[in-house]
Symmetry: C2
Subunit: 663 residues, 2 copies
């Protein structure tokens, strides 16, 4: 054990186990989580392979495929059915491989479950669960991701044969990006424009078999393949798909909500938004997932910062642990706070989803808009914060952060797509803004509105209650005030533009930057509120609560300082109050310092999950780096072939021009 | 040609050629640049290879080695000696490969030139130029990068044999990271602690041969290798080096400034800082280089944003070019402005370096501190802004940005190390702060100080002169005011802490965040000043100047809005003035909109240099993406071997458990 890390752990003022319990919902769940992680860690098959970074892309894909199939079987054998518990096992078993069948389990099966008829479920689900069908969710096309109503793939109903004829009429209409589509899947749910009786009926889902179930070769009319190497996700064969007159039976349209009758009569769904559930569910989970990414990066960067020593503090004296530099703390501790904030918020969003989901299933869509806006906003807000945070953690590790030995670059490339898929972040923020502007008249009128948005109607002339002590309540009020004011500003801007002669649409379009500011502020407030509420309610001892409270305050104060203009341009804080905040910020960094390592320990990631030379629990960073380097495939030969192929001939050629001197 | 792009070019209100000329210092240089780029583009050998992303790491290394050796010869044949001109050729010839011999040309040879004696130069330079010696610069160790005085490698002088004995006494003392050290180099300059007569004499450079010049095998006592796969730079064999009693002759210490005599007497340099020149030179060039990275990303993202259409503006109407969304403009146009700002600033820093360098060579070190601070600060400021900007550009391309087909991930991994190497950015900012605090008494006293820092003494009670028109002069004054105020705040904080009983060192350590704010504000001001000066001085026609002025204003206003708190917490701007700025910001986005494509065209990067399906000059984005996908190595087989190895057996096993239903 590295002595600095050992000392850090001795110095902590609280018991990390209490925080672990809080994070993972109680000691029983922590025990289960550890049991599953250990099962994965001790498994000889999962241990076998060489580091992912030493593998070619095809090896990465093969390893991932092998491991995930193996883990699927193991989990089935163990009788583990809960998706979160399965994830814990997989995260420790194959931390650095993106599952080629992720879409099969995560989107294909759930979509059939939610949008298929009883018959369809009976027909496809058993086959899907036994891997006879390996499917994916093919929505995005080369030309359309955000605007799904613009998808170009067509499914034209032919009443004579009672079939749909699927086509990709243009280059841009090719499906592009779906996970596992290129090589792994033999079928998929294709989102396509339904045409019956010569009329467009909007987009619907169709079950399409794309490869032969026995030979895995393409079905007639199907062209598909991998889309090529990417920033990350390379163990996944995100794919493209071109359909030419592919015929599927009428029963292959997912018909739980809308239907096409035998004669081609189209029966629309009772409510257009009924299918939103899955989307919202996925977004809620992305929040927790981003928190997971950032928390891993924090574990690595903070442990390493306790081990790394750089620069003598006084001439000839010992070098400081870099975690003792205020600048380093100012980068890392707010991120640590963010990881906690997002983790708690994600959990809250998931719970909220569960609560509303049952209402929705029962056909009560009243809260759907609220839920939809919250999840869209938090998805965007959290992925932005967490992925940028991962990069900051990497940079805080200096040069070594740039090596794949650190594990951080891989975290970044793994989590950054969260900003883009499942609703591009900027577009998400505009949806939040649209929701807020829609209810804005109600807010202004003081009508009965949801508790989440009630504060938006508050009196904007009020000033902050902030004192030197910097109470959580005053911090939260500040966030509420800022969100309310920015919303009111955006609304005023739109009204002004309308008054000056622009149409509503033009005014909106010329205000989307201001609207985004308001939407972000709304999300930010939501996170601060959730974080402080969960910390207040937490059943932990006093010392633990103190630490979490410090973290929560740091999150809020850092959020204010980073966006200071928005908090003070209307004079909400006095200059004096701003100085309270700045002083408190510096104090909090110092206060959190002795608990930083214990706070990352509390995330309870085994070394196998982190897969990082820098983030090791025992702090034996340098021998691990040396080991990583020595094993680099480049070092298998003392002299590479390329020396003989390129260097030597160049030297010979050059020496013929300029005669070689004697060394 | 994509019709949208064609129309963009028609709509531009200025002649991009004038801007190209301004960027590359006149039509003559533009002509040379194009000549060299074309020579590279048309070269059959350089055209040959498959896309870098389809290659394994070892293939990337081999391709890079082959290409750079080839280009070196070609450039020699063509008689091109200017480093910038050589770069133009290489950038077009091998845009996506980091040269395995970059350190040989960029650091090894220049260091010998600058720090070697006449004899040493005569001995090593001809051999280095003819590639008999391939060298690198081995400074960083596993345990030390920032704090080079803490390097642990020792060079102990043995007067009996008149040799130095080099050792890596610990794991952390291993050299780690030097480019080309792992496999390519046969020698290097090792930075080591000199010990003579049993006394430590500080760090010095030693020429050490690490591989046999004929066989390329390791010399006795040398262990070296590649450090393994990294985030990027994978065509380079950044290496490690462990030395065990390696003996080198006395003449192998670089002795232009300090010397060890035959008997071991140590002769120190006349001035400790004499060797700083190279470091400062490199940092000045990193500024321009970062600008190059960001500008490429802007070209790609802005052209693509003009081609990409997403979302109907009015129901059933055409979809908008995404560049028409204000949110998209608000992300991209300030970055475009930043690319220009940094490009001009880098050029200014390079010129300033040249001016001071001759003074320094002549032994006049008066301006060295000023130069040093400027280059350290701009290096950090520009790399932060540019690399974060590259990621924003990538995200602005939606899903396709994440594919290596976009070219942007590679740009990011190529440029982000600029934040770390050649002086870690946070550490650089603290050096700027140290410089500013050192001259702070002079500033306060109003003594004679350099024009760069004169404004820092200005009256802090003054308010902004900003009017609705938003003049450049008022913008610059705002930046100066903010920098002066933040410096004064940091100084006051330190004084307060000292008064409250802390030592100067403790007070400094507890104020580094505030000091960093001040240092950043100083750099930011420098950039705004340089940008506005170069735009004012530019010999271009009025329409061109208008466009550049708009860009410059956008850079400044965006900088204010993004850091608004720092500009208003002391009431420097009134709320009214802030609203002028916000309105102007929106107006400028609209004003720049029609010229955005022409402004990126003006960077004049050939498609080959960009190597991006999204950034193509002709806008044929989608066919290019399809081509990229089809050629993915995964698609060489219709059914991958892994299907037979893993999927099929899993299906069989599963179907034995659950009998297969009929599809
Ligand atoms: C790793 C990865 C995995 C994926 N997996 C899948 C999958 O399994 N299945 C699947 O179907 N898809 C998948 N996708 C695709 C993904 O869902 C889309 O990339 C995503 O929906 C964004 O759409 P886009 O790429 O068309 O971006 P675009 O919509 O083209 O966005 C580009 C830019 O335009 C802006 N923009 C677009 N519309 C508007 C608007 N109305 N207002 C303002 N700004 C706008 C955006 O903000 C963005 O800056 C994946 C993508 C990635 C990167
Ligand atoms: C791609 C790449 C190529 C490279 N090529 C070469 C090469 O060719 N030759 C070579 O010699 N080296 C090379 N390097 C190494 C590089 O020079 C070092 O990584 C760099 O100097 C930073 O040092 P470090 O890694 O020790 O970071 P550290 O100093 O360990 O920094 C880690 C963290 O500690 C903080 N910190 C450190 N000291 C202080 C302080 N005094 N005050 C406040 N904060 C502090 C930093 O801000 C940072 O957040 C390369 C690195 C990379 C990534």
């Amino acid at each position: 054990m590295n002595p600095d890390l050992a000392q850090e752990r001795r110095r902590a003022t609280f018991d990390p186990e209490q925080v672990t319990s809080l994070l993972y919902r109680g000691p029983e769940n922590v025990r289960k989580r550890r049991y599953l992680q250990n099962a994965a860690i001790q498994d000889q098959v999962l241990r076998g392979s060489k580091p992912w970074a030493f593998q070619s892309r095809i090896e990465q894909y093969e390893t991932a495929l092998q491991m995930y199939i193996y883990m699927m079987n193991k989990l089935d054998e163990m009788g583990v059915t809960d998706p979160l518990e399965r994830m814990y096992y997989q995260e420790a078993g194959a931390p650095h491989y993106y599952n080629p069948m992720a879409l099969h389990t995560g989107m294909f099966i759930p979509s059939i479950e939610k949008q298929g008829t009883k018959e369809q479920k009976e027909r496809w689900l058993p086959m899907a669960r036994s891997l006879q069908l390996i499917g994916t969710y093919a929505q995005t096309e080369m030309g359309h991701g955000t605007f799904i109503r613009g998808l170009e793939t067509t499914a034209t109903y032919d009443p004579s044969s009672q079939e749909f004829v699927l086509n990709s009429p243009t280059v841009t209409s090719m499906k592009f990006w779906p996970g596992g589509l290129g090589k792994t899947s033999n079928c998929c749910l294709v989102m396509a424009q339904l045409i019956t009786h010569g009329k467009k009926r909007g987009i619907h889902l169709f079950f399409v078999q794309i490869r032969d179930l026995k030979t895995h070769r393409h079905m007639p009319g199907v062209e598909s393949g991998d889309i090529g190497p990417k920033f990350g996700f390379n163990s996944n064969d995100n794919g493209y798909l071109k359909l030419s007159n592919v015929r599927i039976p009428r029963e292959n349209m997912l018909m739980r909500y809308s239907k096409v009758l035998e004669d081609g009569t189209y029966v629309p769904p009772t409510n257009q938004r009924i299918g939103y559930g899955t989307m919202v569910f996925v977004r809620a989970h992305i929040v927790t997932n981003s928190a997971r990414g950032l928390s891993k990066a924090c574990v690595i960067a903070i442990r390493y910062s306790a081990v790394r020593r750089q620069t003598e503090v006084s001439p000839g004296g010992p070098e400081a642990q870099i975690i003792d530099y205020q600048t380093q703390q100012y980068k890392l501790f707010p991120l640590l706070a963010t990881a906690y904030a997002m983790y708690f918020t994600g959990r809250y969003a998931e719970d909220y989803y569960e609560q509303i989901a049952s209402e929705i299933e029962a056909g009560n869509l009243e809260s759907l808009n609220q839920l939809h806006a919250v999840c869209a906003g938090l998805k965007a807000f959290s992925t932005w914060a967490c992925t940028a945070g991962i990069e900051t953690c990497r940079l805080c590790c200096g040069g070594h952060g740039y090596s794949h030995a650190s594990g951080i670059p891989k975290l970044y490339t793994y989590y950054t797509p969260g900003c883009t898929y499942e609703g591009e972040n900027n577009v998400m923020m505009l949806q939040v803004a649209r929701f807020l502007m829609k209810i804005y008249p109600d807010i202004k009128r003081g009508g009965p509105i949801h508790e989440f948005v009630q504060y938006l109607g508050a009196d904007l002339t009020q000033k902050s209650c902030m004192t030197e002590e910097v109470a959580l309540g005053c911090l939260l009020k500040a966030f509420q005030h800022r969100a309310a004011r920015l919303l009111s500003d955006a609304a005023a801007r739109i009204e002004n533009l309308v008054r000056s002669g622009k149409s509503r649409q033009e005014a909106w379009d010329a205000s989307t930057v201001a609207l985004t500011w308001a939407a972000k502020a709304y999300c930010h407030t939501f996170v601060v509120r959730t974080f402080s509420q969960i910390v207040s309610d937490a059943a932990v001892d006093k010392s633990t609560k103190d630490v979490l409270t410090a973290l929560c305050k740091l999150y809020a104060i850092d959020g204010i300082i980073e966006n200071l203009g928005e908090f003070i341009e209307d004079g909400f804080f006095s200059p004096h109050q701003v100085s309270f905040l700045k002083n408190k910020l510096a104090d909090l960094l110092a206060e959190i310092r002795p608990n930083a390592v214990a706070l990352v320990d509390a995330f309870d990631y085994p070394d196998k999950t982190l897969d990082s030379c820098l983030g090791r629990y025992d702090g034996q960073v340098y021998p691990a780096l040396y080991e990583y380097a020595k094993n680099s495939p480049f070092n298998e030969q003392e002299v590479l072939d390329s020396y003989h192929k390129f260097i030597k001939p160049a030297q010979t050629e050059q020496s013929q021009r300029a005669p070689m001197a004697r060394l």
